[in-house]
């Protein structure tokens, strides 16, 4: 099933201009500019405190920027975010679903919050896609970490989002489960033409999933490009080495000489 989002392919899914967030004396995001093309997978990479989660929070409307402009799917997020929230979704290990509700109850509530005309059908569709049909009657709090991640992703796909923002989508998963989640995301992106923006510490994952990488450091964009381009530009063997160069303050080109 392909969503009707092809028409606006030329317009970026996300535009951020001069985006900044300051908490008292701490600058979390320092006036960044970027655009995310529709229909691709873009990764936000950076160490702890680089500003990834704050940036995603601002893009989602959960965090008010100190300065700047955000446009998501052609809508000004600072003025009219409710017009577009139904067309995007997100998942984060830092935000839970109610643990005392069953998986089916949680998904039903979110299907209705997202205004899906047939909430039961929407739950059945994501349950099938994420292979969680047998978990629907279990309490969310009784699930393993891997099962919770699958359920969180099911919630993130419940409204067939045109834009999916994922904060560390495979955190705390074993390699097999993480690989399976990546396959689901790839299939969803391919089938729906949706845009995915993900923040991750897992460099191998980013190399597999993303076709565009935005490197963040201390709230600023340090570099940007396709994973292979970045690896080549920094003269490293993989994205993890590039990440370490940036995290440790070694600028472009210096890594190859060390």
């Amino acid at each position: 099933m392909r969503l009707a989002i092809v028409a606006a392919m030329s317009e970026p899914a996300i535009i951020a201009e001069g985006l900044a967030k300051r908490f008292d004396d701490v600058v979390a995001v320092d006036g960044i500019d970027f655009a995310v093309a529709r229909g691709g997978v873009t990764a936000l990479l950076g160490g702890n405190g680089a500003g990834k989660t704050t940036t995603i929070g601002m893009l989602l409307g959960l965090v008010t920027p100190s300065a700047g402009r955000i446009e998501v799917l052609g809508t000004d997020m600072l003025r009219h975010r409710h017009r577009v929230l139904g067309r995007l979704n997100f998942s984060s290990p830092y935000v839970d679903l109610p643990l005392r509700l069953t998986v089916g109850q949680n998904l039903r509530v979110y299907a209705e919050l997202y205004g899906m005309r047939d909430a039961k059908a929407a739950v059945a569709l994501v349950a099938d896609r994420l292979r969680i049909a047998e978990l629907l009657k279990r309490r969310t709090g009784s699930l393993s970490a891997g099962q919770k991640t699958r359920v969180a992703l099911a919630k993130a796909l419940i409204n067939l989002p045109e834009l999916l923002l994922l904060d560390e989508p495979t955190a705390s998963l074993d390699p097999d489960s993480a690989g399976w989640i990546r396959d689901v995301l790839t299939a969803y992106q391919r089938d729906s033409g949706a845009t995915i923006l993900l923040a991750s510490h897992n460099m191998a994952e980013v190399e597999v999933l993303a076709d565009d990488v935005i490197m963040l450091g201390q709230g600023r964009i340090v570099d940007r490009g396709a994973p292979a381009e970045l690896v080549q530009r920094f003269g490293r063997r993989n994205l993890e080495e590039v990440f370490l160069d940036i995290a440790r303050g070694r600028e472009r080109g210096l890594g190859a000489a060390e």
């Binding site: 908490f23 965090v63 839970d96 643990l99 205004g115 059945a124 569709l125």
Partner: protein
């Protein structure tokens, strides 16, 4: 499965979203019978204690004997205010305890729709507690709060309205200040008890405190309740004054909630709050 079945609709204000969140709170209640029993347990215990005390006093006081139901009605109606506030605040705290606010406010749910859900679930929780307790009062003490007729509806809604106003303001403050301030949800309403005239007339209070008391809708309700039970007179003017005050307080409570919500967005609290 065809696309139209899953089509989204996102109106500016949606009763469907309000009831989707009410559904979430009902799932929570339904999933735990102790929670349901608890809603009726404390009001019933209070009612029994005050009922037996009233029976004792009635045999020693002609005033109490003439207006046997005053204390019992006071207990039952006070619980409406208490349960109204706590029912709203606890439902909101559930979202904070479960770290669910981030998911909720990334969905099309608007803060005013959440207020609608909280008010609805508070009403349901209050009724679940109040109705069995009132029936127990009939069984144990042959006292029917329903004998007050339509006046009971005016008393009930004026009290629960005040509970909602307080609940919204408290929920906003806990969101802004963090779960360390959650004791506000349990304790704040008791500050109103001594000056609401639940068990004694407002005239009993020192004069300066009477001025404060008359700023509370609850004072008008309990004076109205006494006028009805002692003199058999329903004073509609008292209820209208209570309603006018309630409208002001409800708007203030909602504004505090919405301002605190914006402050929480500004400080990135919606992504961080949890147990």
């Amino acid at each position: 499965m065809s696309v139209p079945v899953l089509e989204r609709h996102t109106p500016a204000f949606s009763l469907r979203r309000v009831f989707a969140l009410v559904r979430r709170y009902l799932y929570l209640l339904r999933g735990s019978w102790p929670r349901i029993v608890e809603l009726a347990y404390w009001p019933t215990v209070q009612m029994l204690m005050w009922g037996f005390l009233t029976q004792f006093l009635a045999s020693h006081s002609s005033f109490i004997a003439q207006a046997f139901g005053i204390l019992l009605a006071g207990v039952l109606l006070w619980d409406v205010l208490f349960r109204g506030q706590i029912g709203l605040s606890i439902s909101f705290l559930e979202e904070m305890w479960s770290r669910n606010l981030g998911h909720l406010f990334v969905s099309p749910l608007r803060p005013v729709e959440m207020i609608g859900s909280l008010v609805t679930i508070s009403l349901l929780r209050t009724l679940i507690g109040a109705v069995p307790t009132s029936l127990f009062a009939m069984v144990f003490f042959d006292f029917s709060v329903y004998s007050m007729g339509l006046a009971l509806v005016a008393f009930f809604f004026n009290l629960i309205f005040l509970g909602w106003a307080m609940g919204l303001a408290i929920s906003g403050m806990v969101l802004r200040l963090g779960l360390g301030a959650e004791s506000l949800a349990w304790a704040a309403v008791f500050a109103l008890a001594p000056i609401s005239g639940i068990y004694y007339p407002i005239a009993t209070l020192p004069e300066w405190l009477q001025v404060v008391a008359w700023c509370l809708p609850s004072a008008y309700v309990f004076e109205g309740m006494r006028a009805l039970l002692i003199d058999g007179v329903f004073d509609g003017a008292l209820m209208l004054r209570a309603l006018a005050l309630n409208l002001v307080y409800f708007v203030l409570g909602a504004l505090v909630f919405l301002r605190c919500f914006e402050a929480a967005r500004n400080r990135a609290l919606l992504l961080q709050i949890g147990e």
